[in-house]
Symmetry: none
Subunit: 205 residues, 4 copies
DNA sequence: GATGAATGAGCGTTCATTCAT
DNA sequence: GATGAATGAACGCTCATTCAT
């Protein structure tokens, strides 16, 4: 019994190590420009071993993307839920999202670079998962904003559109921060995002 | 003389036809999953002929992306410049951008899917061009908003960040419209974008 | 009648012009690294026109080689025949051969570089022609030497082997002259070739 | 340790096998008329495997030529050095050279056919190596002959030219033997070469 | 179990030749 | 006749995956 557990633990550790190194390599060069041999070499395993952990190159890639994104959404929601009031939650949402991107610059670049397309089964279902997760996340933000409307803090605009807007305002800062080599910390944009999202750009209402 | 002109016209028509068909094929399957033979067959030319118009697969791809994007930015700016006052210009900006996306759904999907990455010279310089064009466009919007600030219509927020925010609010709607199969017209979101951009989501200031 | 003659004369002039330019291009880059388009462009004719003068690329190449080599052998024999006595004839043979090589350095390099092989019909028959011409030439020298034996000037060694030896002694100098960038005139070797061929290297007999 | 040695030995055996079969195929058809698939099939390996042993088609070709030629020069020099006196050494030189050609008819034919040209890096450096090795060999013969001059056996002709002459006299016989399908053994020419090289063709001095 | 050499389908690209104009 | 755009077979090479050791 104990033996089995150790085996399982070891298996998971190796799997995680491979994913970690694969992320680095993929993030640097993109899916199509990386060979399985490279990942094997980077992670210190043999080519053959990789195929014991993952069904193939695509599966390794989609798993890596998928698990990392799960982590991102989880982190953001956890931080958001931990805040007390609506404004605090929105602030936490912006902050946690920004921080994840700052910590995972290379990974996130994969989404600017693109490198997702493909026709194969695995890639198609990855894309669908990405879309589903995206809408789940928008829905999470939506509920937050609905609460704000109910509490009389926010205007009664379509919640889904508001949520989408907030998400993409965060994305806007992130993208620019990733595109321009050296700039101030991404987190410094939090105030602006919060301000423009809440009050808009017009001078007098 | 006339002969030469007709030759040139024909050349350009064939070139355009290839680009048009290549756009369709690339949009469906992404750069790496399309073969030159497929594009040749789809556009009704032989493999060899493609190489008279374009230096290779990458050149065909980057040319297609580049020219189409040039067109998009040009259309948006033309429509924007044609409007009279600031609010009208912002409205026109949103409208023209939305309309281009509605008319070029498949092409725009390439950017959601990503499929830009690659390490080669051509691809690297395409990416740089995309980034440059993006910032040029943000700058165009920036100037528009600066004018609004000067005229006392808009708050004196950092113009670049405001421009980026507006651009990504438009992008937010577009993305969702492309992700969800059948939905109301993208243009119908114009009112919301304008509203949230100008006034924000907060109930009382 | 006269019209026809002019046509024919023009045809031959164009054909010669193509061969002349083709020689230059082939000599510089070798058969496989030259395209038909290059030859067309170099000779000032269209691709299609080339196919009116020659059946194809191989035919153009083999014709060029063949005719040039015919010329070489003809020149050498003419000069040789013009000399009076045996020793003079051998001297003339060496001289004319050396001079042809000096005048046609690039062409002759084709034979050092190789660039003859191929499996196709045309190439095979070219090779056979080269071999036949080579033996015909050796035979010419042979007759010269037989005469020398009959006249009591030369030892009664196997005439074919003697002829071959003489030919390759000339070739030896030529080769080195072509391999080493800048050297004294090839013709300056005539004395040495004659000396070693006639007297050998041994000090006392 | 032992394991590693066996691996290395196997690797070298496979590499040698590929070179051997490649030599046959190239010798028959020339560089440009052989496909990588053909060599793979002839040597009993897959296309991909060839690329584990050699960087590409050119590398395979140049390696084959280079190693074989190294072997030839080594054999000739070894045999020559083993002989006692000058005349014996010259005889051994002729003999060893002839024997190598008799044993490696197909390989040597590559040099008659030519098939060395090409513009690429690898081919250019092969050519330079061939030339360098040629002159190194001539130099080896030169030293031999210089010794003969010093010992009073040979006339004080320019040693380099004498060496070149001897080399090409051997080459003359070899070439004819290769060109004419069936003939007496090449080695039977040794006597003639020695005779003409030492004494020349003139009857009375 | 672990390995990495072996496999070969599939790719982008070239260029001799043809033939509509 | 003269042209050169169009053709597509054929090539060298890569690399995800397998499987004998």
């Amino acid at each position: 019994m104990e033996r089995l557990e150790r085996k399982e633990r070891e298996f998971n550790m190796r799997r995680a190590e491979i994913l970690k190194q694969a992320e680095k390599v993929f993030a640097t060069k993109g899916f199509h420009n990386v060979t399985v041999a490279e990942i094997a070499s980077a992670s210190g395993f043999s080519i053959g071993s990789l195929y014991q952990f993952f069904e193939g190159k695509e599966n390794l890639y989609t798993t890596m993307i998928s698990e990392k994104l799960d982590l991102m959404y989880a982190e953001i929601r956890k931080a958001t839920n931990a805040a007390k009031d609506i404004t605090g939650k929105i602030e936490a949402l912006i902050d946690a999202h920004s921080q994840f991107i700052e910590k995972n610059k290379d990974f996130c670049r994969l989404f600017i670079k693109g490198e997702n397309a493909a026709l194969s089964e695995a890639m198609t279902s990855l894309r669908q998962k990405l879309i589903d997760d995206y809408f789940k996340h928008i829905n999470f933000i939506e509920n937050l904003l609905k609460d704000g409307i109910k509490k009389g803090l926010l205007r009664a605009l379509p919640p889904h559109d508001m949520a989408s807007a907030l998400f993409h305002l965060i994305r806007a800062s992130s993208m620019e921060w990733m595109l321009v080599p050296a700039k101030e910390s991404l987190s410094s944009k939090k105030g602006f995002i919060l301000d423009i999202f809440l009050k808009g750009v017009k001078k007098y209402d």
